[in-house]
Amino acid sequence: MRPSLSFCKNLLAERWRHGMLRIFRKREKRSGGGLAAAKGRFVLSVTIPLLLYESLGIFVLAWAFILMFYNYSSGRLGGPILGLGGSNPFVGIQNFIQMIKGTSVQANLFRTSLKNTLIFAFAVLPLNLVITLPLAYLLESIGERFKVLYRTIYFMPVLTSSVGVALIWMSMYDPQGGWINAIIRFFGGQPVAWLSDPRAGFLGISVAMWAVILAYLWQDYGYNMVIFIAALQAIPQGLKDAALIDGATPWKVFTKITIQLIRPTLLFVCVMTMLSSFQVFDIIQVMTNGDPGNRTQVLMLDIYKNAFRYQRLGWAAAESFVLFLIVMVVTLIQMRLLRTEWEY
């Protein structure tokens, strides 16, 4: 192709290119060199779409913030701007006052949900640590080949979709054919209607709550285990050997060396577990949907139901803000604690 192109055309193109180059060079001088200009153009071509997209994010956040001061329902038409005002009236901090001392059904349900969420989170955390930390420690002290196999299997529930986990455990909890009741019967106990009996309880927590806690733990412990294993692997073996030679018992080595050295990880795991259990939704929604008698109604479930079933979006936005505050406070405490941990 090239040689057959007419000379004239080539010349024209050359002149045009030359002219363009002159224009560009002038600009480049102002902005300090060709490379800098190219860099500037690149930065602009990325940041401009990014800013546009992020402004959508700001818009979403602002909307979320405004909504919680309104009695907003997507079923009503409302005012001209985003449906705010008119039949969706501004109520100020009334939503939050309701949450604290309201006597309506939804205010009571909010407080129940908050209580259940706290019960769930504070039950999950110690149980999780009691399972994961010793298991990770034991797993650390066995041969490499077995370790990979065990870890793979312990990790499988983490990879499973939580809906699947919920369905599997629902059939395990089945009052008739479920295996949990079969085990109870085998030891001579009374079978329990795990997911539907509102009165049965253990340690002041209903059996339905225990049931979802167990299912949640089953899905989640592999996650913390691998985090712990990674932390444990970072501890130099020499330290432990030295302590053992000096006559320390394995228990002492565990408490005085291992625990001390993985403290940052321990804190991190505590907070992450706490955060994800504050926001638990999938397993509970599938297994009980808040039943029996709202015994397993957690905050996320309450927010979901209010927003998308009862169309109380203003109220739901206020609730999610409360949940956000809890999550925020826990995160800030974590950052504070971790910072002091790292300083020594």
Binding site: I153, P157, W179
Partner: protein, 297 residues
């Protein structure tokens, strides 16, 4: 692990009389350890096993007291029913899930790499503010943005559309944060050499930076794929019509429309959950690496 192997071999070479009985004691001591680990193992595996076994039982046998371990008359009836059920076109739902997962992962990987590279290697006005904004959005959980996002989607008429699932997840603050750290370790000389050779900035990004990031991109990709594939709450809000739903929502819908048919539901669970679980188990190493590297789910 290697350090332990070395210490063990080196101690064997030292002639100490107490060594042998100590070793035998070690084996005896590790026996309860293996027992305990295996106990935990069976607790982990048993529900999976039960799911698979139940899927071969009839709906009557599933409810039997006491429950059978192995199916009395193993039957493929449940699977046959699901494959012949016109209201449950599994391939279609697999397609929905795959579209959402691959599209989301593809876009977030690209944007994360690009923006991470920008934050790591370029100086521009407002960079600190922009990055601070990203860090802030990282801390804002979905339940805050979920309600206004839903309202936006209803106004855009994107409810019941798979596109509605994608538009809010084009940028992932966490991915940006992680890839920025990787980009910072890229040598500036490499990029400058390419510039001197006449490569444009986009060429540098696509041909030089992206290949360097393949390891963290793979990790982020598999984590993102898992998160998208198993996502439940947001798809449930957006996809209300049955034919556009993704797999987890279909599974709960199937469960609620087939109550009392335990064997059938377990067969559906196997078909919907197991294939992808096996894929993820295969990539487990990367996922573990991602979790321990990032500490996020």
């Amino acid at each position: 692990m290697t350090s332990r192997a070395i210490t063990e071999t080196s101690t064997v070479q030292v002639p100490l009389p107490a060594r042998r009985p100590l070793r035998r004691a070690k084996i005896w001591r590790s026996l309860p350890l293996y027992l305990l680990l295996t106990l935990g193992l069976s607790f982990t595996l048993l529900p999976f096993l039960m799911m698979i076994l139940s899927s071969f039982k009839t709906n009557v046998e599933v409810l039997q007291v006491p429950p059978t371990f192995l199916p009395d008359n193993p039957t493929l009836e449940n699977y046959r029913k699901i494959f012949n059920d016109p209201s449950l076109p599994l391939l279609r739902f697999y397609g929905n899930s795959a579209f959402v997962a691959f599209f989301n992962v593809g876009t977030t990987l690209f944007t994360s790499a690009l923006i991470g590279y920008l934050f790591a290697k370029f100086q521009f006005k407002g960079k600190r503010i922009l990055f601070g904004w990203f860090l802030t959005t990282m801390m804002i959980p979905t339940q805050i943005t979920m309600i206004p996002s839903y309202l936006i989607l209803t106004r855009l008429k994107l409810i019941n559309s798979l596109w509605g699932l994608v538009i809010f997840s084009a940028v992932d603050a966490f991915g940006i944060f992680m890839l920025r750290q990787f980009c910072e370790s890229l040598p500036g000389e490499l990029l400058d050499a390419a510039r001197i050779d006449g490569a444009s900035e986009w060429q540098i990004f696509l041909r030089i930076v992206l290949p360097q990031l393949s390891a963290p991109l793979a990790t982020l990709g598999i984590l993102g794929f898992m998160g998208n594939w198993n996502a439940y709450l947001w798809p449930m809000i957006v996809l209300q019509k049955i034919e556009v739903r993704t797999l987890p929502i279909i599974l709960t819908w199937f469960n609620s429309t087939h109550t009392g048919q335990g064997g059938l539901v377990m067969a559906a669970t196997v078909l919907i959950m197991l294939p992808i679980l096996l894929v993820l188990v295969y990539f487990q190493r990367w996922i573990v690496k991602g979790f321990t590297m990032t500490g996020f789910k």
